[in-house]
């Protein structure tokens, strides 16, 4: 790159070079896949080629594959279920974490149970939840809750527990009111860990939703994906996988990423 080139062009070039450098494997794989599709080297019963995948996407979006319904409907349903289960998990998780951090007695009572339940995969609850809540909305929401709540509890507990003692001493010395202590000191001080718990819980909940819909629902992206498998349609399965990956990445990047930039990255190094 020449030093006299205008800054804009050189930055663009630099960006392109870097992207190429960092994404070479992905780009290479995509090229191989497209080339193999063009030469009809991949049997569609094993992995969809480019044309099939594109057609499947269009068909699913427009709802042409009758039994499978419309992709957009599934996306919305999955999203709504996730929002419901996750909000409950966030509310209850933060509350429990806060209670544990404020009282060592509560912590001593809850921690052993938490240690016991945390390692149990959210989806292992599926058979039980199906029996209690039946197949459908409630079961999926409960399963998302059960998957997402544990890291949130731990995040809140760690966040509120690890507030440096000096912060509280400063508050006492300056005579800060209870309201000021909670709003301006305790919450912001706990926020980084609390937030990382929420973010981890988001990932866990999102992973659970697919499995939960596969087993315990008749709508949603997970259900569509499972049906794709049963209908022996690799193209449908792959579309489902891509949609899920995009949804989760979008939520993580845009919702949590933005919140983190706004609330934490400004001051935390």
């Amino acid at each position: 790159m020449s030093a006299v080139a205008p800054a804009v062009a050189s930055r663009f070039e630099l960006g392109m070079t870097r992207a190429l450098y960092e994404w070479w494997l992905l780009i290479a794989l995509a090229v191989v896949w497209i080339a193999a599709s063009a030469l009809n080297l991949i049997p569609n019963s094993v992995f969809p080629d480019a044309q099939t995948l594109a057609r499947a996407t269009v068909d699913l979006v427009t709802g042409k594959v009758g039994v499978l319904g419309k992709l957009t409907d599934h996306v919305w349903i999955s999203f709504a279920r996730f929002a419901a289960g996750y909000s409950i998990a966030a509310g209850i998780g933060i509350l429990i974490g806060l209670l544990m951090a404020t009282s060592s007695l509560i912590a001593a009572l809850i921690l052993p149970i938490l240690r016991l339940l945390y390692p149990i995969p959210g989806l292992a609850w599926t058979p039980l939840v199906i029996m209690w809540a039946g197949i459908g909305e409630n079961a999926v929401i409960v399963l998302i809750f059960l998957s997402a709540v544990w890291p949130i509890v731990y995040g809140a507990y760690d966040g509120f527990r690890n507030i440096p003692r000096n912060y509280m001493l400063v508050c006492r010395q300056l005579g800060a009111t209870w309201n000021v202590r909670v709003r301006r000191v305790l919450l912001p001080a706990a926020l980084p860990m609390l937030f990382s718990g929420l973010r981890l819980g988001h990932g866990m909940g999102w992973r659970a939703i697919v499995g939960a819909e596969m087993i315990a629902a008749v709508t949603g992206v997970g259900y569509m994906l499972n049906m794709g498998g049963e209908l022996r349609r690799p193209d449908v399965v792959v579309v489902g996988m891509i949609v899920i990956a995009i949804m989760s990445a979008l939520l993580d990047r845009f919702v949590f990423g933005t919140l983190e930039d706004r609330l934490i990255s400004r001051w935390k190094r």
Binding site: L169, R172, Q173, L174, T177, V180, W267
Partner: protein, 262 residues
């Protein structure tokens, strides 16, 4: 001990502090300390690490209560922490999520009584920031400041509610030698401008000799007063002063007998 001319600002009378440990043993950290500190005096508490200097400071601040004896400030016994006694710690002092100016104004806005006392909180905040030499960094977050600047901000915050007493717990202990020297000079300037009474905990002989009116040397745990060294030299002090080197030599021997070498 010679009695100060004006009535004492801080009076520590036969104070003992005993902590009970987890296995129900009693640990005496401070043993029968008697000390009175005059208004406007600069006192350094000097002693080996973990000897109970900080406990004594916490007793004055009101974070701890004595097991026996009385601590009084401005004639009133200390029962709780209060804005009349500003505290500066070694670390974790600034609220990371607040800018410098929000940190400094925190003490002026955190309860209604204080808010009534300082109607012009913004002006007072700016004055304190200027005093510690942080003008231009009002909107910077603490994590983007150097160690020395962080401590400047912490000093400004504790000065904001205009306390009569400043309690400092090894405030420059985490800074490098150069910065520490600059900060010591800065602190003396602030002390001379504001006329506060300062109690400063340190384990550095050099620091104590450079700063203090009186150095209170403490024994290892349980802390007692080993000796009190009075320094009359004017400031800024010249480290070349042969008087100072004699005192340093003496303090070194005094301290060495109290610490366990590795």
């Amino acid at each position: 001990m010679d009695s100060p001319a004006s009535p004492p600002m801080i009076e520590i009378e036969n104070v003992t502090k005993v902590f009970s440990t987890q296995d129900n043993r009693n640990l005496k950290t401070i043993d029968d300390i008697q000390l009175s500190i005059a208004q406007g005096e600069f006192i350094c508490l000097l002693g080996p690490s973990g000897c109970g200097k900080s406990t004594l400071l916490n007793l004055i601040a009101g974070f701890e209560t004595p097991s026996a004896g009385i601590v009084a400030c401005a004639g009133k016994p200390v029962v709780a922490p209060g804005p009349d006694r500003g505290v500066v710690f070694q670390e974790h002092t600034l609220f990371e999520w607040m800018t410098v100016s929000n940190n400094v104004s925190f003490g002026l806005t955190c309860n209604p009584d204080i808010r009534a006392r300082f109607p012009d909180a913004a002006g007072r905040t700016q004055a304190c920031i200027d005093l510690v030499g942080l003008r231009g960094f009002e909107n910077t977050f603490p994590n983007f400041l150097s160690g020395g600047m962080k401590q400047r901000a912490a000093i400004a915050r504790s000065l904001a509610p205009d306390p009569a007493i400043l309690l400092m717990d090894e405030p420059f202990g985490a800074l490098d030698a150069q910065t520490r020297f600059i900060m010591q000079n800065e602190l003396l300037k602030i002390w001379q401008t504001t006329q506060k009474t300062i109690v400063f905990v340190t384990h550095s002989i050099e620091e104590a000799v450079f700063l203090a009116d009186r150095i209170v040397v403490m024994t290892k745990r349980p802390a007692r007063i080993k000796e009190i060294v009075k320094l009359d030299m004017p400031r800024p002090r010249n480290i070349n002063d042969p008087m100072l080197s004699d005192i340093k030599s003496r303090l070194y021997d005094s301290m060495a007998s109290e610490s366990v070498m590795i």
